[in-house]
């Protein structure tokens, strides 16, 4: 059933079009949304009120209906509201369907996968160092059980939080995710700039590995539940703590754009690459350019955070998603300039210190 009193005023999809399992979110000023398992109702006072609305991932059958409806509206209107065009683009991004359109790979999805991959890889390299340090010295059984237990906890977190976030209105979600990504990403970026300018020591995986080995060798033999408790707890905590950052980034990247699966795939690819590299190297991955990767991840987190945070408070980016590239370029330039300025300052201070 579909009714449309007053042009674009009302859209109704009922259960004949398929039960709504995921909430279809529409965020715009003056737009009322009423969602339950049987129907999606979008009411707007006028077509203009739909400007800026978003339709992220939702039940594919409802998306098909909404797209078809908006297409019909577009054919009848020479100049559609920006929000409608955006809604169609968003619903197109959600995947292929029986309208025959292929899955759209755009810049944002590529950046989401890249960001999730790089952030996960760098955290997994650190987790691998901890696991190797303990496993090599104290044996693999308890260590790998610790890794497995932490992985299960992380998987449960993703499975529980991912769908739960789907029920939050997209504007609120993007504001919260944007703010968190900004706070989190700026930490990475700040440390990476301090490291690249020489104000903070570079992270040394070989050194961490040796420290882990020394501690593992010195730890007392404590057996509980048939496990070497030291190996189990160190591996569990190491993987859990490093993995939490991965989970946070994957969920944040994935949920704000409705591509949780893509972000998770990026993280899974990183896991495979790091594990294979670790097995081949038979040691810590000390040659991975960690600070460069952290610099890149910090830039992506900060850029996405700014983009989604601003969208969450109602900003309309000129050029829509294309402006994300501009935001990234802006932060690249700012970060490189800051890094250069700090390096110069350090050299100046060192020269002055040597002369005194």
């Amino acid at each position: 059933m579909a009714t449309r009193p007053g042009g674009l005023g009302t859209v109704i999809a009922d259960e004949n079009r398929g039960v709504v399992h995921r909430v279809l979110l529409v965020v715009a000023r003056d737009v009322r949304v009423n969602v339950n398992r049987l129907a999606v109702r979008v009411e707007a006072a006028s077509a203009d009120a739909l400007t800026g609305c978003m339709l992220p991932a939702a039940d594919p059958q409802v998306l098909r209906f909404v797209r078809a409806h908006f297409r019909e509206s577009l054919r009848k209107k020479s100049r559609p509201p920006a929000g409608i065009a955006h809604a169609i683009k968003e619903s197109s991004d959600a995947g292929s369907d029986d309208l025959g359109e292929p899955f759209v790979v755009n810049t944002t999805t590529v950046l989401i996968v890249t960001g999730a991959f790089l952030a996960s890889a760098v955290e997994m390299v650190e987790a691998l160092t901890i696991v190797l340090g303990v496993g090599v010295v104290r044996g693999w059984r308890s260590t790998l059980i610790g890794v497995g237990a932490a992985t299960i906890v992380l998987a449960v977190l993703v499975a529980a939080l991912g769908p739960a976030l789907g029920s939050i209105p997209i504007g609120t979600l993007r504001l919260v995710v944007g703010a968190l990504l900004l706070a989190f990403g700026l930490q990475w970026l700040r440390k990476a700039i301090l490291r690249s300018s020489g104000y903070k020591a570079l992270h040394d995986e070989e050194e961490s590995f040796q420290a882990e080995r020394t501690q593992a060798a010195a730890a007392a033999d404590d057996r509980r539940a048939g496990l070497d408790w030291y190996s189990f707890t160190v591996a569990f905590k190491g993987v859990l703590l490093e993995g939490l950052e991965v989970v946070f980034i994957v969920i944040a990247f994935g949920s704000a754009q409705g591509h949780l699966g893509l972000a998770a795939a990026g993280a899974a690819a990183a896991l495979v690459v790091v594990v294979i590299a670790g097995v081949l190297a038979k040691g810590p991955l000390s040659r991975v350019p960690e600070n460069t990767i952290k610099f890149a991840v910090g830039l992506l987190l900060t850029s996405f955070g700014s983009f989604w945070g601003a969208e969450g408070v109602g900003v309309h980016w000129p050029g829509d998603e294309a402006s994300l590239l501009g935001v990234i370029a802006f932060f690249v330039v700012v970060s490189l300039l800051l890094s250069r300025a700090l390096r110069r300052k350090r050299v100046t201070l060192a020269t002055a210190g040597a002369g005194a």
Binding site: F248, G305, S306, G309, F330, F331
Partner: protein, 66 residues
């Protein structure tokens, strides 16, 4: 109580990190952007600019300490 404090400290370090002023600056930038947007100004430029200033100030303080 000890666990609760550890739990809170973990999340504080996780989200806020070394410099709480960065998180506060982000919150202020978002707040001002929101106010301007709701006043009818499409202030897309404000948040990246505010974030860049917050980052520069945080680095200046970190280097000054060091």
């Amino acid at each position: 109580m000890r666990y609760l404090r550890s739990f809170g400290r973990f999340w504080w370090n996780f989200i806020v990190g070394d410099d709480w002023r960065v998180a506060a600056g982000v919150a202020v930038s978002l707040g001002v952007t929101s106010l301007l947007t709701h006043a009818g100004v499409n202030a897309w430029w404000l948040l990246p600019t505010g974030v860049a200033l917050v980052l520069a100030e945080s680095l200046r303080r970190a280097v000054g300490r060091g």
